[in-house]
Symmetry: C2
Subunit: 226 residues, 2 copies
Protein backbone atom coordinates (compact mmCIF):
# COMPACT_ATOMS: atom_id res chain seq x y z
CA UNK A 1 0.00 0.00 0.00
CA UNK A 2 1.27 3.42 -0.97
CA UNK A 3 3.11 5.79 1.27
CA UNK A 4 1.98 9.39 1.38
CA UNK A 5 4.15 12.44 1.84
CA UNK A 6 2.91 15.23 4.05
CA UNK A 7 4.47 18.62 4.43
CA UNK A 8 3.80 21.05 7.26
CA UNK A 9 1.47 23.97 6.63
CA UNK A 10 2.40 25.79 9.83
CA UNK A 11 4.42 25.62 13.03
CA UNK A 12 3.22 26.35 16.51
CA UNK A 13 5.07 28.70 18.83
CA UNK A 14 4.77 27.85 22.51
CA UNK A 15 6.68 28.46 25.73
CA UNK A 16 8.12 24.94 25.78
CA UNK A 17 11.37 24.58 23.82
CA UNK A 18 11.61 20.98 25.02
CA UNK A 19 9.20 18.13 25.49
CA UNK A 20 9.76 17.75 29.22
CA UNK A 21 7.12 19.73 31.08
CA UNK A 22 4.55 19.98 28.31
CA UNK A 23 1.12 18.93 29.66
CA UNK A 24 0.25 15.47 28.48
CA UNK A 25 -3.04 16.29 26.81
CA UNK A 26 -4.52 19.38 25.28
CA UNK A 27 -6.77 21.51 27.47
CA UNK A 28 -5.11 20.44 30.75
CA UNK A 29 -3.76 23.97 31.14
CA UNK A 30 -6.15 26.23 29.23
CA UNK A 31 -4.08 29.36 29.83
CA UNK A 32 -1.19 28.01 27.76
CA UNK A 33 -1.28 30.13 24.64
CA UNK A 34 0.25 29.02 21.37
CA UNK A 35 0.67 30.90 18.11
CA UNK A 36 0.04 28.96 14.92
CA UNK A 37 2.25 30.56 12.28
CA UNK A 38 1.65 29.50 8.70
CA UNK A 39 4.57 28.68 6.45
CA UNK A 40 4.95 31.11 3.55
CA UNK A 41 3.36 28.79 0.98
CA UNK A 42 0.22 28.53 3.13
CA UNK A 43 0.05 32.13 4.31
CA UNK A 44 -3.24 32.86 2.61
CA UNK A 45 -6.04 34.59 4.52
CA UNK A 46 -8.63 32.96 2.25
CA UNK A 47 -7.71 29.57 3.73
CA UNK A 48 -8.98 30.84 7.10
CA UNK A 49 -12.22 32.39 5.88
CA UNK A 50 -14.95 31.65 8.42
CA UNK A 51 -12.64 30.10 11.00
CA UNK A 52 -13.76 32.64 13.60
CA UNK A 53 -17.16 30.91 13.71
CA UNK A 54 -15.56 27.98 15.53
CA UNK A 55 -14.61 27.99 19.20
CA UNK A 56 -12.31 24.96 18.96
CA UNK A 57 -9.92 23.57 16.38
CA UNK A 58 -8.12 20.31 15.81
CA UNK A 59 -4.41 20.42 15.25
CA UNK A 60 -2.89 17.43 13.46
CA UNK A 61 0.81 17.66 14.02
CA UNK A 62 4.11 15.93 13.64
CA UNK A 63 5.43 14.30 16.83
CA UNK A 64 8.70 15.55 15.42
CA UNK A 65 10.75 14.73 18.53
CA UNK A 66 9.50 11.14 18.56
CA UNK A 67 10.53 9.88 15.15
CA UNK A 68 12.10 6.46 15.30
CA UNK A 69 12.99 4.03 12.60
CA UNK A 70 11.24 1.14 14.31
CA UNK A 71 7.86 0.99 15.95
CA UNK A 72 7.07 -0.81 19.17
CA UNK A 73 3.69 -2.54 19.50
CA UNK A 74 3.45 -1.58 23.17
CA UNK A 75 4.14 1.54 25.20
CA UNK A 76 4.19 2.34 28.92
CA UNK A 77 1.81 5.22 29.66
CA UNK A 78 2.91 7.57 32.45
CA UNK A 79 -0.68 7.36 33.67
CA UNK A 80 -0.05 3.75 34.67
CA UNK A 81 3.13 4.61 36.55
CA UNK A 82 5.35 3.76 33.61
CA UNK A 83 5.41 0.07 34.49
CA UNK A 84 2.47 -1.38 32.58
CA UNK A 85 2.49 -1.93 28.87
CA UNK A 86 -0.52 -1.24 26.66
CA UNK A 87 -0.89 -1.46 22.91
CA UNK A 88 0.26 1.57 20.98
CA UNK A 89 -3.19 1.85 19.34
CA UNK A 90 -4.72 1.87 22.83
CA UNK A 91 -2.58 4.87 23.81
CA UNK A 92 -1.88 8.43 22.80
CA UNK A 93 1.87 7.95 23.08
CA UNK A 94 3.93 9.97 20.58
CA UNK A 95 5.87 6.84 19.69
CA UNK A 96 3.59 5.43 17.01
CA UNK A 97 3.98 3.79 13.61
CA UNK A 98 2.98 7.13 12.09
CA UNK A 99 3.85 9.83 14.61
CA UNK A 100 0.86 12.09 13.99
CA UNK A 101 -0.42 13.99 17.01
CA UNK A 102 -4.01 15.10 17.55
CA UNK A 103 -4.97 17.94 19.87
CA UNK A 104 -8.07 20.03 20.28
CA UNK A 105 -7.39 23.64 21.19
CA UNK A 106 -9.52 26.68 21.85
CA UNK A 107 -9.40 29.32 19.15
CA UNK A 108 -8.69 32.53 21.07
CA UNK A 109 -8.41 34.77 18.05
CA UNK A 110 -6.35 35.77 15.09
CA UNK A 111 -3.54 38.27 14.84
CA UNK A 112 -2.62 40.13 11.68
CA UNK A 113 1.14 40.53 11.46
CA UNK A 114 3.37 42.12 8.88
CA UNK A 115 6.06 39.47 9.13
CA UNK A 116 3.99 36.31 9.37
CA UNK A 117 0.57 37.11 7.96
CA UNK A 118 -2.48 35.92 9.86
CA UNK A 119 -1.53 34.01 13.01
CA UNK A 120 -3.97 31.87 15.00
CA UNK A 121 -3.90 32.24 18.77
CA UNK A 122 -4.90 29.00 20.47
CA UNK A 123 -5.36 27.99 24.10
CA UNK A 124 -4.53 24.73 25.83
CA UNK A 125 -2.01 23.41 23.32
CA UNK A 126 0.17 20.57 24.58
CA UNK A 127 2.82 21.10 21.92
CA UNK A 128 6.52 21.76 21.92
CA UNK A 129 7.67 25.04 20.39
CA UNK A 130 8.30 24.65 16.68
CA UNK A 131 6.13 21.57 16.23
CA UNK A 132 5.16 21.22 12.56
CA UNK A 133 1.40 21.30 11.92
CA UNK A 134 0.02 19.20 9.07
CA UNK A 135 -3.60 20.21 9.27
CA UNK A 136 -6.05 22.45 11.07
CA UNK A 137 -9.71 21.43 11.14
CA UNK A 138 -12.73 23.00 12.79
CA UNK A 139 -14.07 21.08 15.79
CA UNK A 140 -17.61 19.85 15.12
CA UNK A 141 -19.27 18.93 18.41
CA UNK A 142 -22.09 16.97 16.78
CA UNK A 143 -19.61 14.47 15.37
CA UNK A 144 -16.48 14.94 17.53
CA UNK A 145 -17.90 15.21 21.07
CA UNK A 146 -18.61 12.01 22.97
CA UNK A 147 -18.56 13.19 26.57
CA UNK A 148 -19.68 9.80 27.89
CA UNK A 149 -17.09 7.75 26.04
CA UNK A 150 -15.38 5.11 28.17
CA UNK A 151 -11.64 5.49 28.40
CA UNK A 152 -10.48 2.72 30.69
CA UNK A 153 -7.05 3.08 32.18
CA UNK A 154 -6.68 6.62 30.81
CA UNK A 155 -9.24 7.73 33.36
CA UNK A 156 -7.06 6.67 36.29
CA UNK A 157 -5.21 9.39 38.14
CA UNK A 158 -6.30 12.01 35.71
CA UNK A 159 -7.51 14.40 38.40
CA UNK A 160 -4.31 13.87 40.34
CA UNK A 161 -2.37 17.06 40.56
CA UNK A 162 0.60 17.98 42.68
CA UNK A 163 0.62 20.80 45.17
CA UNK A 164 3.20 23.31 44.00
CA UNK A 165 5.38 25.44 46.26
CA UNK A 166 7.36 28.19 44.63
CA UNK A 167 9.12 30.92 46.61
CA UNK A 168 7.87 34.28 45.40
CA UNK A 169 11.42 35.58 44.82
CA UNK A 170 11.88 32.78 42.29
CA UNK A 171 8.47 33.12 40.69
CA UNK A 172 9.09 36.84 40.12
CA UNK A 173 11.69 35.88 37.51
CA UNK A 174 8.87 34.69 35.24
CA UNK A 175 6.91 37.36 33.35
CA UNK A 176 3.81 38.11 35.39
CA UNK A 177 1.21 36.95 32.83
CA UNK A 178 2.84 33.54 32.64
CA UNK A 179 3.26 32.75 36.32
CA UNK A 180 -0.05 31.02 36.92
CA UNK A 181 0.39 29.05 33.72
CA UNK A 182 3.78 27.79 34.83
CA UNK A 183 2.41 26.73 38.21
CA UNK A 184 -0.48 24.93 36.52
CA UNK A 185 1.91 23.07 34.23
CA UNK A 186 4.06 22.01 37.17
CA UNK A 187 0.98 20.79 39.05
CA UNK A 188 0.44 18.37 36.16
CA UNK A 189 3.52 16.48 37.35
CA UNK A 190 5.95 16.48 34.44
CA UNK A 191 7.92 13.49 35.74
CA UNK A 192 8.03 10.52 33.41
CA UNK A 193 6.27 8.30 35.94
CA UNK A 194 4.86 8.43 39.43
CA UNK A 195 8.10 7.79 41.14
CA UNK A 196 9.37 8.86 44.50
CA UNK A 197 12.94 9.98 44.33
CA UNK A 198 14.99 12.97 45.36
CA UNK A 199 16.00 13.88 41.83
CA UNK A 200 16.11 17.47 40.67
CA UNK A 201 14.18 17.95 37.43
CA UNK A 202 14.37 20.97 35.17
CA UNK A 203 11.65 22.28 32.87
CA UNK A 204 12.38 24.91 30.23
CA UNK A 205 9.55 27.40 30.10
CA UNK A 206 9.28 30.84 28.52
CA UNK A 207 13.03 31.29 28.39
CA UNK A 208 13.61 30.18 31.98
CA UNK A 209 14.99 26.98 33.47
CA UNK A 210 12.74 25.88 36.29
CA UNK A 211 14.23 23.31 38.68
CA UNK A 212 12.18 21.33 41.15
CA UNK A 213 12.00 18.29 43.36
CA UNK A 214 8.94 16.33 44.40
CA UNK A 215 8.26 14.86 47.81
CA UNK A 216 5.05 13.68 49.47
CA UNK A 217 2.84 14.89 46.64
CA UNK A 218 4.26 18.40 46.62
CA UNK A 219 6.43 19.90 43.94
CA UNK A 220 9.03 22.29 45.31
CA UNK A 221 10.57 24.79 42.91
CA UNK A 222 14.21 25.02 43.90
CA UNK A 223 15.52 27.43 41.30
CA UNK A 224 14.49 29.52 38.33
CA UNK A 225 17.37 30.52 36.12
CA UNK A 226 17.79 31.64 32.55
CA UNK B 1 10.54 22.44 6.70
CA UNK B 2 10.81 18.72 6.28
CA UNK B 3 8.30 16.49 4.66
CA UNK B 4 7.28 13.33 6.45
CA UNK B 5 6.37 10.03 4.88
CA UNK B 6 3.47 8.07 6.32
CA UNK B 7 2.49 4.58 5.43
CA UNK B 8 -0.87 2.96 6.16
CA UNK B 9 -1.12 0.57 9.08
CA UNK B 10 -4.56 -0.74 8.08
CA UNK B 11 -7.42 -0.41 5.64
CA UNK B 12 -11.09 -0.14 6.45
CA UNK B 13 -13.69 -2.33 4.81
CA UNK B 14 -17.09 -0.72 4.41
CA UNK B 15 -20.18 -1.10 2.24
CA UNK B 16 -19.30 1.94 0.13
CA UNK B 17 -17.02 1.18 -2.82
CA UNK B 18 -17.36 4.80 -3.94
CA UNK B 19 -17.40 8.15 -2.24
CA UNK B 20 -20.88 9.13 -3.37
CA UNK B 21 -23.37 8.19 -0.68
CA UNK B 22 -20.98 7.98 2.25
CA UNK B 23 -22.37 10.01 5.16
CA UNK B 24 -20.55 13.30 5.49
CA UNK B 25 -19.42 12.89 9.09
CA UNK B 26 -18.78 9.97 11.36
CA UNK B 27 -21.58 8.88 13.63
CA UNK B 28 -24.36 10.18 11.38
CA UNK B 29 -25.42 6.59 10.69
CA UNK B 30 -24.30 4.58 13.74
CA UNK B 31 -25.38 1.25 12.26
CA UNK B 32 -22.80 1.49 9.48
CA UNK B 33 -20.24 -1.13 10.43
CA UNK B 34 -16.67 -1.05 9.19
CA UNK B 35 -13.90 -3.59 9.61
CA UNK B 36 -10.42 -2.24 10.28
CA UNK B 37 -8.00 -4.78 8.83
CA UNK B 38 -4.35 -4.34 9.71
CA UNK B 39 -1.71 -4.65 7.03
CA UNK B 40 0.59 -7.64 7.56
CA UNK B 41 3.46 -5.59 9.02
CA UNK B 42 1.13 -4.20 11.69
CA UNK B 43 -0.85 -7.36 12.41
CA UNK B 44 0.34 -7.66 15.99
CA UNK B 45 -2.19 -8.31 18.77
CA UNK B 46 0.14 -6.62 21.28
CA UNK B 47 -0.45 -3.31 19.51
CA UNK B 48 -4.13 -3.56 20.50
CA UNK B 49 -3.60 -4.57 24.12
CA UNK B 50 -6.16 -2.76 26.28
CA UNK B 51 -8.10 -1.26 23.37
CA UNK B 52 -11.29 -2.92 24.59
CA UNK B 53 -11.34 -0.50 27.52
CA UNK B 54 -12.30 2.30 25.14
CA UNK B 55 -15.76 2.81 23.68
CA UNK B 56 -14.64 5.13 20.90
CA UNK B 57 -11.60 5.42 18.67
CA UNK B 58 -10.14 8.01 16.37
CA UNK B 59 -9.26 6.98 12.87
CA UNK B 60 -6.71 9.14 11.06
CA UNK B 61 -6.95 8.20 7.43
CA UNK B 62 -5.88 9.05 3.95
CA UNK B 63 -8.47 10.93 1.89
CA UNK B 64 -7.09 8.72 -0.83
CA UNK B 65 -9.72 9.67 -3.42
CA UNK B 66 -9.07 13.36 -2.92
CA UNK B 67 -5.37 13.68 -3.69
CA UNK B 68 -4.61 16.63 -5.91
CA UNK B 69 -1.37 18.19 -6.88
CA UNK B 70 -2.54 21.67 -5.97
CA UNK B 71 -4.42 22.91 -2.95
CA UNK B 72 -7.20 25.44 -3.02
CA UNK B 73 -7.48 27.91 -0.13
CA UNK B 74 -11.27 27.78 -0.23
CA UNK B 75 -13.89 25.06 -0.56
CA UNK B 76 -17.67 25.02 -0.98
CA UNK B 77 -19.24 22.95 1.80
CA UNK B 78 -22.37 21.01 0.82
CA UNK B 79 -23.86 22.26 4.08
CA UNK B 80 -23.96 25.75 2.61
CA UNK B 81 -25.66 24.59 -0.56
CA UNK B 82 -22.42 24.32 -2.48
CA UNK B 83 -22.45 28.01 -3.39
CA UNK B 84 -20.55 29.67 -0.56
CA UNK B 85 -16.81 29.45 -0.16
CA UNK B 86 -15.11 29.03 3.20
CA UNK B 87 -11.45 28.59 4.04
CA UNK B 88 -10.15 25.05 3.80
CA UNK B 89 -8.96 25.24 7.42
CA UNK B 90 -12.50 26.24 8.43
CA UNK B 91 -13.91 23.10 6.81
CA UNK B 92 -13.66 19.35 6.99
CA UNK B 93 -13.46 19.02 3.21
CA UNK B 94 -11.30 16.14 1.97
CA UNK B 95 -9.55 18.52 -0.43
CA UNK B 96 -6.85 19.84 1.90
CA UNK B 97 -3.15 20.64 1.68
CA UNK B 98 -2.51 17.38 3.52
CA UNK B 99 -5.49 15.10 2.85
CA UNK B 100 -5.67 13.50 6.29
CA UNK B 101 -9.16 12.58 7.48
CA UNK B 102 -10.27 12.42 11.10
CA UNK B 103 -13.26 10.38 12.27
CA UNK B 104 -14.41 9.16 15.63
CA UNK B 105 -16.04 5.75 15.56
CA UNK B 106 -17.56 3.46 18.13
CA UNK B 107 -15.53 0.36 18.92
CA UNK B 108 -18.03 -2.48 18.58
CA UNK B 109 -15.57 -5.28 19.20
CA UNK B 110 -12.73 -7.27 17.81
CA UNK B 111 -12.76 -10.34 15.60
CA UNK B 112 -10.04 -12.94 15.53
CA UNK B 113 -9.55 -14.20 12.00
CA UNK B 114 -7.18 -16.74 10.52
CA UNK B 115 -6.58 -14.76 7.35
CA UNK B 116 -6.30 -11.24 8.68
CA UNK B 117 -5.44 -11.52 12.35
CA UNK B 118 -7.31 -9.32 14.82
CA UNK B 119 -9.85 -7.09 13.07
CA UNK B 120 -11.54 -4.09 14.72
CA UNK B 121 -15.27 -3.72 14.21
CA UNK B 122 -16.30 -0.07 14.29
CA UNK B 123 -19.62 1.71 14.03
CA UNK B 124 -20.49 4.98 12.34
CA UNK B 125 -17.54 5.18 9.99
CA UNK B 126 -17.91 7.66 7.14
CA UNK B 127 -15.19 6.03 5.04
CA UNK B 128 -15.00 4.56 1.58
CA UNK B 129 -14.14 0.87 1.33
CA UNK B 130 -10.39 0.38 1.17
CA UNK B 131 -9.47 3.71 2.74
CA UNK B 132 -5.93 3.53 4.13
CA UNK B 133 -5.68 4.17 7.88
CA UNK B 134 -2.59 5.93 9.19
CA UNK B 135 -3.35 5.81 12.88
CA UNK B 136 -5.82 4.59 15.46
CA UNK B 137 -6.02 6.37 18.80
CA UNK B 138 -8.25 5.89 21.79
CA UNK B 139 -10.87 8.59 22.29
CA UNK B 140 -10.27 10.44 25.56
CA UNK B 141 -13.42 12.34 26.53
CA UNK B 142 -11.67 14.52 29.10
CA UNK B 143 -9.52 16.07 26.41
CA UNK B 144 -11.41 15.36 23.17
CA UNK B 145 -15.04 16.11 24.10
CA UNK B 146 -16.24 19.71 23.88
CA UNK B 147 -19.99 19.27 23.54
CA UNK B 148 -20.61 23.02 23.78
CA UNK B 149 -18.11 24.04 21.12
CA UNK B 150 -19.43 26.59 18.65
CA UNK B 151 -19.40 25.44 15.07
CA UNK B 152 -20.87 28.29 13.06
CA UNK B 153 -22.06 27.46 9.59
CA UNK B 154 -21.49 23.73 10.14
CA UNK B 155 -24.46 23.75 12.49
CA UNK B 156 -26.85 24.88 9.76
CA UNK B 157 -29.08 22.23 8.22
CA UNK B 158 -27.42 19.48 10.15
CA UNK B 159 -30.69 18.04 11.42
CA UNK B 160 -32.14 18.19 7.93
CA UNK B 161 -32.87 14.76 6.65
CA UNK B 162 -34.87 13.64 3.65
CA UNK B 163 -37.91 11.44 3.87
CA UNK B 164 -37.10 8.23 2.01
CA UNK B 165 -39.56 6.16 0.01
CA UNK B 166 -38.41 2.78 -1.16
CA UNK B 167 -40.78 0.16 -2.60
CA UNK B 168 -40.45 -3.01 -0.54
CA UNK B 169 -39.84 -5.16 -3.65
CA UNK B 170 -36.73 -3.08 -4.29
CA UNK B 171 -35.58 -2.98 -0.69
CA UNK B 172 -35.81 -6.77 -0.47
CA UNK B 173 -32.81 -6.96 -2.82
CA UNK B 174 -30.61 -5.63 0.00
CA UNK B 175 -29.54 -8.11 2.68
CA UNK B 176 -31.98 -7.71 5.55
CA UNK B 177 -29.49 -6.56 8.21
CA UNK B 178 -28.38 -3.69 5.96
CA UNK B 179 -31.75 -2.30 4.88
CA UNK B 180 -32.25 0.19 7.69
CA UNK B 181 -28.67 1.33 7.32
CA UNK B 182 -29.13 2.00 3.62
CA UNK B 183 -32.30 4.00 4.26
CA UNK B 184 -30.53 6.02 6.96
CA UNK B 185 -27.66 6.81 4.59
CA UNK B 186 -30.09 7.93 1.89
CA UNK B 187 -31.92 10.15 4.38
CA UNK B 188 -28.63 12.01 4.83
CA UNK B 189 -29.07 13.37 1.28
CA UNK B 190 -26.01 12.25 -0.65
CA UNK B 191 -26.42 14.91 -3.33
CA UNK B 192 -23.48 17.26 -3.72
CA UNK B 193 -25.63 20.28 -2.82
CA UNK B 194 -29.18 21.18 -1.93
CA UNK B 195 -30.40 21.40 -5.45
CA UNK B 196 -33.78 20.76 -6.91
CA UNK B 197 -33.54 18.84 -10.14
CA UNK B 198 -35.01 15.74 -11.67
CA UNK B 199 -31.69 13.96 -11.96
CA UNK B 200 -31.35 10.26 -11.19
CA UNK B 201 -28.48 9.60 -8.75
CA UNK B 202 -26.94 6.21 -8.04
CA UNK B 203 -25.25 5.11 -4.82
CA UNK B 204 -23.20 1.92 -4.64
CA UNK B 205 -23.91 0.15 -1.37
CA UNK B 206 -23.17 -3.40 -0.22
CA UNK B 207 -22.80 -4.69 -3.76
CA UNK B 208 -25.97 -3.04 -5.03
CA UNK B 209 -26.57 0.00 -7.22
CA UNK B 210 -29.27 2.12 -5.65
CA UNK B 211 -30.87 4.71 -7.93
CA UNK B 212 -33.02 7.56 -6.68
CA UNK B 213 -34.51 10.93 -7.41
CA UNK B 214 -35.38 13.69 -4.98
CA UNK B 215 -38.42 15.92 -5.08
CA UNK B 216 -40.06 18.09 -2.45
CA UNK B 217 -37.80 16.88 0.33
CA UNK B 218 -38.45 13.21 -0.36
CA UNK B 219 -35.96 10.77 -1.79
CA UNK B 220 -37.59 8.17 -4.03
CA UNK B 221 -35.67 4.96 -4.68
CA UNK B 222 -36.34 4.11 -8.32
CA UNK B 223 -34.23 1.01 -8.74
CA UNK B 224 -31.91 -1.33 -6.91
CA UNK B 225 -29.69 -3.41 -9.18
CA UNK B 226 -26.46 -5.26 -8.88
Amino acid sequence: MNETVFRPVAVIRTDFPQKFGVPRQSGRVPSLVGRVVFLPAFRNPDALRGIGEFSHLWLLFDFSLSHRGEWSPTVRPPRLGGNTRVGVFASRSPFRPNPIGLSSVRLLGTEETAAEGTVLLVGGADLVDGTPIFDIKPYLPFTDAHPDAACGYADAHREDRLAVECPSELLSRIPEPKRETLLACLAEDPRPSYQEDARVYTVSFAGAEVSFTVSDGTLHVTDIGS
